[in-house]
């Protein structure tokens, strides 16, 4: 059974690139345009990995990460932060909040595939 990945980003182009890249690798992909949208869509079924942007309207990535970690069902679901933010403070906050990895945008499709494979291995 294909593993399901959620992509959360307010940029439609980033969502498209990530979605097409992961679909081609056989993953099932759902997407959300911000943290709030992601929270609403988490009820649709089991998610194996959440890939989220940091800076988004309504609910940012760090808030989403903290919220997800409070949810019993997704407490141990790996969380990949995919963002343009490279500040050490933010990376540290992501680590403390429980993110599995921090990836800087823009990304090469192969790089995303390798990162996702490593996290889901």
């Amino acid at each position: 059974m294909a593993k399901k990945i959620m992509i959360v980003d307010d940029s439609a182009s980033i969502r498209q690139v990530a979605k097409m890249t992961l679909l081609a690798e056989g993953y099932e992909v759902i997407d959300a345009c911000d943290g709030l949208d992601a929270i609403n869509k988490l009820d649709e079924g089991k998610i194996n990995l959440i890939i989220s942007d940091l800076n988004m309207p309504n609910m940012d990535g760090l808030s989403l990460l903290k919220k997800v970690k409070e949810m019993g069902q997704y407490r141990f679901t790996p969380f990949l932060m995919l963002t343009t933010e490279s500040g050490a403070d933010f990376v540290s906050q992501g680590k403390q909040a429980g993110a599995k990895a921090w990836m800087i945008k823009p990304f090469k499709p192969e790089k995303l595939i390798n990162t996702v494979s490593r996290i889901l291995a």
Binding site: V17, A24, N55, T84, E85, S86, V91, G94, A101
Partner: protein, 395 residues
């Protein structure tokens, strides 16, 4: 134009007061002393002089005040005009900034939509290339694998067909040889039969001689004459049988010879055909092998080309993501400009404190390293900072 100093205005008013006091004093003295006409005349002169002086001074001062007032009004107008210009410029700048913000948002939206469409198309192109590469690699494996090589398999099968044909041709040759052996045996039999026929003729001749000798012997040779007659009859039968055998054997020999000749001709034609067929088949097989080899190389080339295109598409997709960074930067610029417009409108002017706060607000809104670097070192070439931190940090 000079503005009327406050001290001079005070002096003018002091002069008015002094003149009034002097006039009052003179009038009071005149009334109190009730002096004579001379004094009155003198007083009148003094009063007149004083009034004249006052009048002159008043006129002079009035003219100056008027001039100064005109100057003040003119200056005030100038200040007012200046203030109006300042206010007008502030509003214009704010309006222009708002236009700029709207334009930037419009560009941002347009860019996002366009790049989003391009990204989708390139992502689909990438998927199509992936499928092409997979298909090409599958074809290469089928052609490239020795065990399943189409050309080699065809060559082996055709070689088997050729071998079967050669075996069949060999069997035909054996039949020809057998026929020749039969023909040879038939000729021998014919010769032997002819010998029998010759012997039979000699026996007939002997039996005739015996009959003659039996007749000459008379009664004593009568029995021998019967035997001789019987021998002659048997010899005739043998001779006739031999003649029949020779005739049949000749027919058989001719038929075998005819058959052998036809088989030999056919075999020669078969050999020629086989040689030609083998030559053509080997030629076709070689051509097929060449074509298969070229096809394999072409597929390899297509695979390489598709892989390179895929790499380029990947790079393009990566580059398209810069729109996200550009979009965020434009968003930050718009927010900064919006704050600047707000500052213009609320404060009317840009003090150092307000500007510093605005700069800090802008700095805090940045999400990218190059934005912060660009902000703190505006004198450097910003392109130096447009690098990508292509990295992943695992926790």
């Amino acid at each position: 134009m000079q503005i009327l100093p406050i001290n001079e205005l005070k002096a003018i008013y002091k002069y008015y007061i002094s003149a009034a006091v002097l006039l009052s004093l003179v009038l009071s003295l005149t009334l109190l002393l009730s002096v004579r006409v001379d004094i009155l005349s003198l007083s009148s002169v003094l009063i007149t002089s004083a009034l004249l002086a006052v009048t002159l001074r008043q006129r002079h001062l009035t003219a100056k005040v008027i001039l100064d007032c005109e100057a003040f009004v003119s200056y005030s107008n100038e200040i007012q005009e200046h203030c109006e210009v300042e206010l007008h410029n502030t509003e214009s700048i704010a309006a222009i900034l708002e236009t700029v913000i709207n334009q930037v948002y419009s560009i941002k939206t347009l860019g996002n939509d366009s790049v989003s469409g391009l990204t989708l198309q390139f992502s689909e192109l990438r998927q199509a290339l992936n499928n092409t590469i997979e298909s090409a690699r599958g074809s290469v494996e089928n052609f490239g694998d020795d065990k399943h090589c189409f050309a080699k398999q065809s060559q082996e099968e055709l070689n088997e067909v050729l071998h079967s044909l050669r075996v069949a041709l060999g069997s035909k040759l054996e039949v020809v040889n057998s026929n020749q052996a039969v023909s040879h045996a038939a000729k021998e039999l014919t010769e032997q039969t002819k010998s029998i026929q010759k012997i039979s003729k000699e026996i007939t001749l002997l039996s005739l001689n015996a009959s003659i000798e039996a007749a000459r012997a008379g009664e004593a040779g009568r029995g021998f004459a019967v035997v001789a007659e019987r021998v002659r009859e048997l010899s005739d039968i043998t001779s006739e049988a031999a003649e029949l055998i020779i005739e049949k054997m000749n027919g058989l020999t001719n038929a075998v010879a005819d058959n052998t000749e036809k088989l030999t001709e056919s075999q020669a034609q078969d050999v020629t055909l086989m040689d030609d067929a083998e030559l053509h088949i080997r030629k076709v097989l070689n051509e097929m092998a060449t074509v298969a080899n070229e096809l394999t190389q072409s597929v390899h080339g297509l695979d390489d080309t598709a892989s390179k295109i895929k790499a380029n598409v990947d790079d393009a997709i990566t580059d398209f993501q810069f729109q996200d960074r550009v979009s965020q930067k434009l968003e930050h610029i718009c927010k900064g400009l919006t704050s600047l417009v707000s500052l213009y409108r609320t404060e009317g002017e840009l003090g150092e404190e307000g500007l510093a706060a605005l700069q800090q607000e802008m700095f805090n809104s940045y999400t990218m390293k190059e934005e912060r670097e660009c902000h703190v070192s505006t004198t450097e070439n910003t392109s130096q900072h447009d690098h990508v931190e292509d990295e992943v940090t695992f926790f």
